[in-house]
Symmetry: C2
Amino acid sequence: MTETDTHDQVTQANRAALRLANVDEARRNAALADIADAIRENSEAILAANETDVEEAERMLAEGEYTQALVDRLKLDEGKLESIAGMVESVAEQADPLGETLAARELDEDLELYKLSVPIGVVGTIFESRPDALVQIAALALKSGNAVILKGGSEASESNRVLYETILEATADLPEGWATLIEAHEEVDRLLSMDDLVDLVMPRGSSEFVSYIEANTQIPVLGHTEGVCHVYVDEAADLEMAEDIALDAKVQYPAVCNAVETLLVNESVAEEFLPDAVSRYREEGVTLRGDAATRDIVDVDPVTDDDWRAEYGDLELAIKVVEDVYDAVSHINENGSKHTESIVTEDADTAETFMTGIDAASVFHNASTRFADGYRYGLGAEVGISTGKIHARGPVGLEGLTTYKYYLEGDGQLVASYAGEDALPFTHREFDGEWNPGHLADE
Amino acid sequence: MTETDTHDQVTQANRAALRLANVDEARRNAALADIADAIRENSEAILAANETDVEEAERMLAEGEYTQALVDRLKLDEGKLESIAGMVESVAEQADPLGETLAARELDEDLELYKLSVPIGVVGTIFESRPDALVQIAALALKSGNAVILKGGSEASESNRVLYETILEATADLPEGWATLIEAHEEVDRLLSMDDLVDLVMPRGSSEFVSYIEANTQIPVLGHTEGVCHVYVDEAADLEMAEDIALDAKVQYPAVCNAVETLLVNESVAEEFLPDAVSRYREEGVTLRGDAATRDIVDVDPVTDDDWRAEYGDLELAIKVVEDVYDAVSHINENGSKHTESIVTEDADTAETFMTGIDAASVFHNASTRFADGYRYGLGAEVGISTGKIHARGPVGLEGLTTYKYYLEGDGQLVASYAGEDALPFTHREFDGEWNPGHLADE
């Protein structure tokens, strides 16, 4: 791939985006159904390619370069492939995110403004080694009318290539260039320089990686980085509930970004709560570290300052005793990653103080942090979990892949009539209605 | 101002943002009323400071450094000051942009997700010489609960400083640091490096300036750059209406970003339309340039390729004859700045082709491009007109200064119950309701 090749590809994606924006819902859904069928029909080739990736990954595992978790995530089988095909069908079943009337306002008689949802345009995505990520992102992009540039992890390169070719063959009647696979790191760097052709970059990875992307592009970035999530056990907590939530949030799936990393315990319940909680964590094999007040009550290793900002992503947990809810809020706003924070309490006012005081995408009351997820939130599939605050926050579904456009219908209005001494007034009246470019003329 | 000073100021803004997010609507509105009163009471000092700025600007004008237009925009008088105070009061009257329930969804029995609008946090703004810009931006930031960093044009430095001090004195009971004035270019550069403390930067200026900001920060940027807007006169246009719209879009206020820069005329009506239109433009003193087909019909100067992407911001216009609506759409998507584009036609299908085919924040049918404005759109005051597609597009009012936060109310739910073989199903049922952290416990 030369520089010119990448530029030509991205230019074609940009043209495809303009055309894809006007492909109607039925055709987008039919294309998604075709993708699901093609994945099923092509399963043999996909699994063969995946085996090549897995063999290479196992070689790297033996050399200590990869983890077993990475190899597990990489591996496809008939069952996983069927669930990928099913996911594509479920994206097709979602409500159309395009053409939705977000607002309709009469500015004056026969001068009507409509705000409609539209695709963003060209979205560049950079994601990790799970091969289902490529299919999920392509399906969401297609459903939302966006041209997409896909860059997967090199560990999954054979699987990704076959999946991509399967998708392209199944969507041959869509505008050419709607989906583009790029494979080399140099291509990513070139993509980042094309801010006139690419509308959004969505990288998933460590905060260092997302930071690198942000520092090297003028394209807006919607980053998906780690989560340093907390559970705060309040003095008014139901302590049995608190134990269950604190445990679920850590052990149900410790490798993910919505797992808890630091447990905060109100000092007035610490003596009652910690011994039982610690023994349940130990049964599940969790390594614990605590501050001095915690270690006065239970025998755990001491924390270092780094622990407060660590995303362990594993069966490890830091514990801190705090004075009150304000102390908990301060600790979280200082050390958290604005991802997901949970309070366990029976006191509504304390819950409100915690939930409104914390700056995070998701704030929970009496529920496990692990619920922060596009599927559980009812958004359908997700492109990622945004740890930024601009455009889309928290789990990002189809809506996060749209923007809006203002449509104004007039019958010859001039701004000169609404300015100066005899200026006409605006009515600015909201109404229910759909944009229809003919209707003023028909009246 | 040293580097440490700037860092301390921005850290304080960040802390103020967390507190301001929970200042209720009544207190924010009362503070806005106090600002309006203080501007009226302090008018003498404000006008004196403004006179210093204007004198300096007139000296620069005499030296040929500034334009008369800049001096005019800079100049305040009692009447303008009263309208600035009135604008602050009108911001107070707008609906509260915070705490709005954007969605409420039951995930399962007694597990309820609410999506609420919240402030963004710390917003850095960089704007031009009109002193009313400082007051307008500060008022919108306060209404939307955001801490704001203000950097105005150096031409207005004396006016800005007195206006800023007036605002600060009037809002002494708000969290300290909610508004911060910075004055030196080095402070802007330092601000741009504080991506851990600043959530959004909103620069207004040339596309080179906004591009410089984007290239030098990892903070998300919502840019306000120029507009290269078009009016397309279709073969099915009411030609009298087309003449009026084409004229209004150019001459009603040529210095602004929503004025038309290129007129596109369908070849089948060019001979009928152009001679009259050209003579009306000439009466208004507009300098005209045209492509070869235009010059076959009317006697205007030839265009160069640069004209198609020029924002004249003045009484100048480029004219091009196009084959049909598709040709017009291609020209606009190739050369426009995605700001505002208008078609004049009596044919609804052609209008639809134009409006859906063009990628721009605003697309108009039978109306002047000059309507693209936050006030005319009914958004109240505006912070700017976004020429990007992410987060907020087109005129940006209070809504563009908000993001959202998910609030989940449970009664002890664990993700383990919703995973694995006996997984509970989610209900994912939308409902009407307001977040209330006590209500599950009360039932």
